[in-house]
């Protein structure tokens, strides 16, 4: 039986389309995504409605004075002094990190990743697809977060005063930053693929931005911190403008490229197991 075989080589577009198709099918057919969307809506509502300081005479003063402070701080505050300066839409990046960890963790735990790599997907396809999936998920979470915060602000009767253009720029900036964060989490989960606990813990730890907060408390509010994911995410604040979006775009793309390249290298040089 001596016959030669011809095999059609799938193009990069076809491969990515396949991978994204799988990831999005899974995203919409499993409850994890919807649970995180709900969490993203509930958390800002809870923070806005339930946080405050109690004065010695028992009077409760809310931490937030304006609804939109739950979206972003008024100015870029890298080193935070209170929870109200920290707890804003950047929290979505923590939820996103946990969600991506669960997704990639399940890929490895179930053995599905073996099915993927047995066929045509390349390691770079996996990195790109998971990054885009994470970006989309976090962008959706940003929207439910916005809705949750807005509704809670209305119910609590907080001020709605804001520079609408800056608010839009801040939200867009944070949505753009989802790309960089998603690539970081994808990289971390690929790096620690054999250790689900470490994957999720490292995603959570870096997602909190604690490293940049620490550096910020030493060096002050330096714009150099915008080079980092958390820095640019903070930079997208209620005084944002078009430049903010450019800064977020450059930072996010730069890190997405770096993490995808290193992640691809790690996957290519190491065994799947």
């Amino acid at each position: 039986m001596d016959k030669s075989y011809e095999f059609e080589k799938p193009t990069f577009i076809k491969r990515i389309k396949g991978m994204l198709g799988v990831d999005f099918y899974r995203l919409f057919h499993t409850p994890v995504f919807y649970i995180f969307l709900i969490i993203s809506a509930i958390i800002p509502a809870m923070v806005l409605g339930m946080t405050g300081t109690t004065s010695p005479n028992g009077e409760i003063t809310p931490l937030y004075t304006n609804t939109w402070q739950i979206i972003a701080s008024n100015e870029p505050m890298y080193a935070v002094k209170s929870i109200s300066e920290y707890a804003n839409m950047n929290m979505v990046f923590i939820f996103g990190g946990i969600m991506i960890s669960i997704f990639i963790g399940h890929d490895y735990k179930s053995g599905y990743v073996k099915q993927l790599f047995t066929t045509h997907p390349k390691k770079q396809d996996y990195m790109i697809s998971k990054t885009l999936l994470g970006t989309f998920s976090m962008a959706c979470m940003c929207i439910t977060y916005l809705l949750g915060g807005f509704v809670a602000g209305l119910i609590c009767g907080y001020s709605m005063d804001v520079n609408f253009g800056s608010l839009v720029c801040a939200i867009l900036g944070k949505i753009i930053m989802s790309l960089g964060w998603a690539s970081l989490y994808t990289f971390l989960n690929v790096l620690f693929r054999k250790f689900f606990g470490i994957s999720i813990a490292s995603s959570f730890f870096l997602g909190t931005g604690i490293l940049i907060i620490g550096v910020g408390s030493v060096v002050g509010n330096s714009t150099m911190l915008n080079l980092f994911l958390y820095g640019s995410s903070v930079y997208a604040c209620l005084s944002s403008n078009f430049v903010t979006i450019i800064v977020c775009l450059v930072c996010s793309l730069m890190w997405a490229l770096i993490y995808n390249l290193i992640g691809t290298l790690v996957l290519s040089k190491c065994d799947v197991y």
Binding site: M1, D2, K3, S4, Y5, F7, E8, K9, P10, K14, R15, K17, G18, M19, G21, V22, Y25, R26, H29, T30, H106, S110, G111, Y112, V113, K114, Q115, L116, F117, T118, T119, H120, P121, K122, S268, K269, C270, D271, V272, Y273
Partner: protein, 299 residues
């Protein structure tokens, strides 16, 4: 042409060689039974072919092309260790995801096709975690069959299956072979493998020590007579004096390469022994494998 051609494949884990200069040839259309002891390197070889592990050195060619070629990879299906399905998703959803990944156009038709092959048409809505082990193995094969692969790699697919499960699996594999799919299958259950395999590869210590077709094995198959007798020890010495290859197997004596069983009976009676039971047989895969592994193979 070979569906799989491996030359000098080496893989080590933390300095320990799992495969050491392995060569392998799996002809197109074969059901290749890959056998060896635990830790001999069967799974490592299969994982390397599937691209799950990174080789240290060597060459792997599938249908004459490098195994990393995306085109040829599209024609490989595998069931390695487990089905690789999401437990909380349904059988249908799991198959659908793989079908999307492979870029299959008429996905529903294709999923129904593979479910029919593995006799699971009625179980598509079941959650994967609710399936029995046998069903899970068959779902794994269904996953591997999506997109009409030319090569199927199965790692111990009949392990843990009951008799009925084994029978169904055997029928499925024979059906697949009939439609021209090359199958590489590793298993410890040699009796089952013997019923379906057309070729065998025996691996030990990360090296291929023998590749043989079932036809060749049939030709080489030695005759042996199993004799059960009261005084086994005395009889064994007696038979050893008379015949070249006589071995003790639990409470029986095996006399090799003697076509005429009656002569053995006559000889024993002449020497005052009463034969309780006598049976003539040909050595099968199990015996051949034991011979090879013990270094007693007769060329």
């Amino acid at each position: 042409m070979n569906a799989i051609e491996i030359r000098g494949l080496t893989k080590s884990f933390k300095g320990m060689y799992a495969l050491n200069d392995l060569n392998m040839n799996v002809p197109v259309g074969a059901i290749y039974g890959f056998i060896g002891e635990n830790g001999s390197g069967k799974s490592t070889t299969e994982k390397l072919i599937c691209g799950h592990l990174v080789k240290d050195k060597g060459e792997i060619k599938l249908f004459g092309k490098d195994y990393t070629d995306a085109g040829v990879r599209n024609s490989v299906g595998a069931l390695i260790e487990n089905a690789g399905c999401f437990p909380s998703s349904s059988v249908w959803d799991n198959l659908m995801m793989q079908a999307i990944n492979l870029g299959i156009k008429d996905r529903e038709k294709e999923i129904n096709r593979v479910l029919k092959i593995v006799r699971m048409e009625d179980s598509a809505k079941l959650k994967f975690k609710a399936c029995s082990l046998g069903m899970k193995q068959r779902i794994g094969i269904a996953m591997a069959l999506l997109g009409d692969p030319k090569l199927l790699i199965l790692d111990e697919p009949i392990n843990g299956l009951d008799t009925d499960g084994m029978r169904i699996m055997r029928e499925v594999l024979v059906d697949l072979s009939k439609i021209g799919i090359t199958i590489l299958i590793s298993s410890h259950i040699l009796g089952e493998l013997e019923k379906i395999a057309t070729h065998y590869g025996i691996i030990r210590g990360g090296k291929m020590i023998r590749e043989i077709s079932s036809e060749e094995m049939e030709k080489r198959a030695r005759v042996f007579t199993r004799v059960k007798i009261k005084d086994t020890d005395t009889c064994l010495s007696l038979l050893k004096e008379e015949y070249n290859d006589v071995r003790l197997d639990e409470d029986s004596i095996l006399v090799y390469d003697i076509e005429d069983t009656e002569k053995i009976v006559e000889f024993l009676i002449k020497n005052g022994h009463v034969v309780k039971e006598i049976e003539k047989n040909r050595i099968g895969l199990t015996e051949y494998y034991i011979e090879i592994m013990s270094g007693k193979e007769k060329n």
